[in-house]
Symmetry: C2
Subunit: 127 residues, 2 copies
DNA sequence: CCGTATCCCCTTTGATACTG
DNA sequence: CAGTATCAAAGGGGATACGG
């Protein structure tokens, strides 16, 4: 039910160093996490598949990102002991709950990125 | 109306280096931007006020964050030529549209951070 | 009061090479 | 195929000092 004190969590007074906002940003604020979650939101995928789909990600960062998500309980890793080995990644139930908020943000991005770019251009032109 | 091709923007195929998801993350993915937006969502604030409310932010980063938001057209900066000078920051209309998606994310954070912490603990205990 | 300018660290990321 | 290990590079971010 989550009926705890939600009063000042977003804009309230004590913007503690460990408020939920900061903790969530520490999770998904990096360069790759939301991209991985976004792709897995469309269906399970293998390591190499993710790597191909996410332009520019290095092997190391993909591994690191996936481990982080697995540790958070948002992604499940399944090893199929074939030859060669096949590893599938999938969102957990918890992971799927992230898709809504993420899509909301992305929708915002799609709708406003034009205005933002225009504002930047104007700002840079001005001075 | 935004009826352009939204097909593969979130989970589609070409996860280009400049897809909206990445560009939005480049905007708000840093450590301070959403915190500043969150506070300004509750009402205008002065520089020193923001600095007091956001625990741990340095003068440099607050300035830098505010400049970025101003450049993006999300925050408006007003200088009152008094002595000493008083500077007020406020969200623009565009800036206010960010509040919804941001609150959604924060709501997610509030609801799931417990589970995430538990998952982390379990993961670390396992090995 | 509200910044800007420097210096410096340290974390994040990428490149590369190597294993089961 | 799916990683791990290591090293080097880049840049975000803090501390401090100074200017309008």
């Amino acid at each position: 039910m989550v009926t705890t004190q939600v009063e000042s969590l977003f804009g309230g007074d004590p913007y503690h160093a460990d408020c939920p906002t900061r903790r969530i940003l520490d999770r998904i604020g990096d360069r790759w996490t939301v991209l991985v979650v976004g792709i897995l939101g469309n269906g399970d995928a293998r390591f190499s598949e993710l790597r191909r789909r996410i332009e520019g990600i290095s092997q190391k960062m993909l591994t690191q990102t996936l481990r982080g998500l697995e540790r958070d309980g948002l992604v499940r890793r399944t090893v199929h002991p074939e030859v060669p080995v096949r590893v599938e990644y999938a969102l957990t139930d918890a992971g799927r709950t992230l898709l809504g908020p993420l899509r909301a943000l992305q929708q915002w991005s799609i709708e406003h990125l034009g205005d933002v770019s225009a504002a930047q251009a104007a700002y840079d032109r001005a001075d």
